[in-house]
Amino acid sequence: MNAADKALSPKAAVHLISGNHACALGAIAAGCRFFAGYPITPSSEVAERLSRMLPEVGGVFVQMEDEIASIAAVIGASMGGVKALTATSGPGFSLKQENIGYAAGAEIPCVIVNVMRGGPSTGMPTRPAQGDIMQARWGSHGDYPIIALAPASVREIYDETIRAFDLAETYRTPVVLLYDQVIAQLTETVDLGDTEGLMRAERKWASGPREAYQPYASGDDGIPAMSRPGAGYRVHTTGLNHAENGFPTQNPEAVARNLGRLLAKFDRHHDTIDSWQTLSCDDAEVLIVAIGISARAAARALDIARARGVRAGLFRPITLWPFPEKALREAAAKARAVLVPEMNAGQLSLEVERILGGKRVDAIHRYNGDPITPAEIAQRAEALAKEKK
C-alpha cells in the first residue's frame, strides 16, 4: 500500500460519515478508477468526494456537460476496461436511461448511483422519496435485464457499492445503486475495518486466439468474456441487436438466441445475486416489506408492535432487482397480512402483490417528502393483525 492508498484507507478507524461519502469510499475500495457525473441534489457529494479521491489512486474524475454525457463517458471508460461509476438523482436518472439500455444490451459493466428524491420532474430536490423503484427496473426501452441494489444504512451503502461493482463486472451488466435522500445524507458512525469478506471480482477477459473469439458467445454461465481494446481482438460493439460475433443482425433466429441469452442472464446466478434481510419473520403474522429509510422505520416498528402483542416481521430486499422472489415467498408463507410502507404512490407493493399472487397486500404510500414513521407502521400492523383475527 502506498502513501496515497494509506491516506484514503477506510480501515484506519471508525468513521462518522454520510451515505454518499460511504459510496465514494466503497467505490475506491471496489477498484473504481473512473467517475463521470453532473451536479444534482442530493447525490453531488459522491462526485465531490471522488474528485478528490480518484486522482490519489491514479483514477480519473470528470464532470461532464450533462447527465447523458456522464453515463456515456462511464460506459466509454468501461469499454476501455476500467471500473466506472456515475451518480445522479431522479431527473438525471431519467436522462441516463437510453444509455443504461445500451450498457445492458451491449453488456458493458458500470455502476449508476441514483439517490431518490421527490418527483415527478424536478419534484423536491432536498426531500426523500422512493419513487424510482420501477424506473430502476424498466426505465429504458425494450426488454433487458438489470441489477438494482437498495442499501438502508451508511455502512450498507459502502458494502453494496463494492458489491455493485462485483456484480457489474461478474455479470457484465449495469448495476443501479438505489437509495433515498435520507440514507444518502444521513451521517452515521460506521466501522469500516471489517471488510475482508467482501468480494473483489474482476471481469472475465477474452483469452486465446483472435480467430476463435466470439465477443457475445458464452459458456454455461451465460456470461461472455469481454475483450480489452489493445489486446488484439479488435471487436465491434453496438447497441443494435447483434449476433455472437458482435455485428448487427436482424436474423430472427440470431436475435432470439442472443437476446434470449441476455434476458436469462441472471436466472442461474440467483445464489450470488439475491440478497435480503429478515427480522423476526419466523413467527410473524404481519409481514412488513420495505427498503431504505422505510425499512429502518419498519425495523423500529417491529419492537413497538411486538410490545403490543402483535407478531410483526420484516422482509427487506437488499437486491431489489431481480427481486428475491423465492425468499419473499418463504418469509410470507405463514403471514396472515402483508404491509408495504414505501415513499411513493405504489411501486414495491405492486411487485410484492405479483410475487405473493392472491395474498392481500396492504400499503402505506407516502409522497409528500416526509418519511414514514415507526409509529405509523406499528399502528397499521396492529390494525391488520386485529382485522385478520
Binding site: 476501455g80 476500467v82 481494446p229 465491434h236
Partner: protein, 291 residues
C-alpha cells in the same frame, strides 16, 4: 507533398472484408471519407490494435463496423461523450469519432461544444451530407436554405450551421473542412487532425446522392461531386462573426490550429502532483484527512 517510407496503402488492410458488401448507397460520399481516414491512419502507422473508433447513429455512424479496429457503435448523438470516457480511461489508445451532421450538431450538439472546449485528444470526423439519410431524408442542422427534404416540403427556411465556425467559436484547437472531391487533400487534412495534440474537428462535405440529391434534382453523383468544386471557396478562414450561415460559401483546409494544453495530459499532471503532495505529507507525519 509528404513522402512516406510506409508500405503502399491498401484499404483492404484496414477493412473488415467479411462485412462487405457495405450498406452505403451508390454515389454516397461516406465511402470516400472512410478511405481517406484509413489512408491517413496508414500513413501515420497507427496500430490497429491501439485504434478505437467510436461512432454515433446514422449513415456515418455505421462506418465503424467496417474498420478493422476496436470499434464502438454507440447511441445517437453521444459518440463524443463515450469517446471522452474511453480516451480519459485509456490514454494509450488513439481515439477517432465518426459522426454525421445530425448526430453531431443536433442531438449531440452539446457534446460537440464541450469537447471543443475541453480539448481532450480526440479526432472528430463529421461527415456532413446535409440530411438525415438513414431515416429517409429529413432536414438537418446543415441543410442549405430552400432545399427540399421529407420534412421541408416547402423548402428549408431555417438557417444552417457553419459547423467549423461553431467548433472554432467553442474553442476547438484544430478545425478543418474538406470535400470528398479532393481525396488526397482530405487525407492530408485528416492526417493533420490525427496528429494534432488536442481535440481536432474535421468536417467532410459528403454527398447524399440517393436521397438528398434526388429530392433536389442535383444530378448524378459525379455532377454532385463536381458541384463541390465549383461552389466551395477554399479561401482563408474569416472572422466567425462575419461568416454567413450558407453552406455554399464555406472555406476549406485547416481553418484553425492553436496550441492549448491537452486535457488528459493536464489532468494526469495535476493528479501526479497531488499524489506527490499526499505522499510527502504522509512521510512527514502530517495527519490530515483527505477524503
Amino acid at each position: 507533398m509528404i513522402v512516406d517510407s510506409a508500405p503502399a496503402f491498401d484499404v483492404r488492410d484496414y477493412l473488415r472484408l467479411e462485412m462487405m458488401p457495405h450498406f452505403l448507397c451508390p454515389g454516397c460520399g461516406h465511402g470516400i471519407a472512410l478511405r481517406a481516414l484509413l489512408w491517413a491512419i496508414h500513413e501515420l502507422g497507427i496500430d490497429k490494435d491501439k485504434l478505437a473508433v467510436v461512432s454515433g447513429i446514422g449513415c456515418a455512424g455505421r462506418l465503424s463496423a467496417y474498420i478493422d479496429a476496436n470499434t464502438f457503435h454507440v447511441t445517437h448523438g453521444r459518440p463524443l461523450a463515450y469517446a471522452t470516457g474511453l480516451a480519459l480511461a485509456r490514454p494509450d489508445l488513439h481515439v477517432v469519432v465518426i459522426t454525421g451532421d445530425g448526430d453531431c450538431l443536433a442531438i449531440g450538439g452539446n457534446h460537440l461544444i464541450h469537447a471543443c472546449r475541453r480539448n481532450l485528444k480526440l479526432t472528430c470526423l463529421m461527415l456532413n451530407n446535409e440530411v438525415y439519410g438513414m431515416t429517409g431524408g429529413q432536414v438537418s442542422p446543415t441543410t442549405s436554405e430552400s432545399r427540399l427534404t421529407t420534412t421541408t416540403p416547402l423548402g428549408n427556411s431555417e438557417p444552417n450551421f457553419d459547423a467549423c465556425a461553431l467548433a472554432a467559436a467553442a474553442g476547438a484547437s484544430f478545425v478543418g473542412r474538406e470535400v470528398t472531391h479532393h481525396v488526397p487533400k482530405l487525407k492530408e487534412l485528416i492526417r493533420a487532425g490525427l496528429e494534432h495534440p488536442g481535440f481536432a474537428f474535421v468536417e467532410v462535405l459528403s454527398d447524399c446522392t440517393e436521397i438528398f440529391g434526388r429530392k433536389n434534382e442535383l444530378g448524378s453523383s459525379a455532377e454532385m461531386v463536381l458541384r463541390q468544386k465549383s461552389e466551395l471557396r477554399p479561401s482563408a478562414y474569416r472572422d466567425t462573426v462575419d461568416t454567413p450561415f450558407r453552406s455554399n460559401d464555406l472555406p476549406t483546409g485547416i481553418l484553425t490550429k492553436t496550441e492549448r494544453p491537452e486535457y488528459g495530459m493536464a489532468y494526469r499532471k495535476a493528479a501526479a502532483a497531488q499524489r506527490a503532495n499526499t505522499a510527502a505529507r504522509a512521510s512527514a507525519g502530517v495527519n490530515e484527512r483527505k477524503a
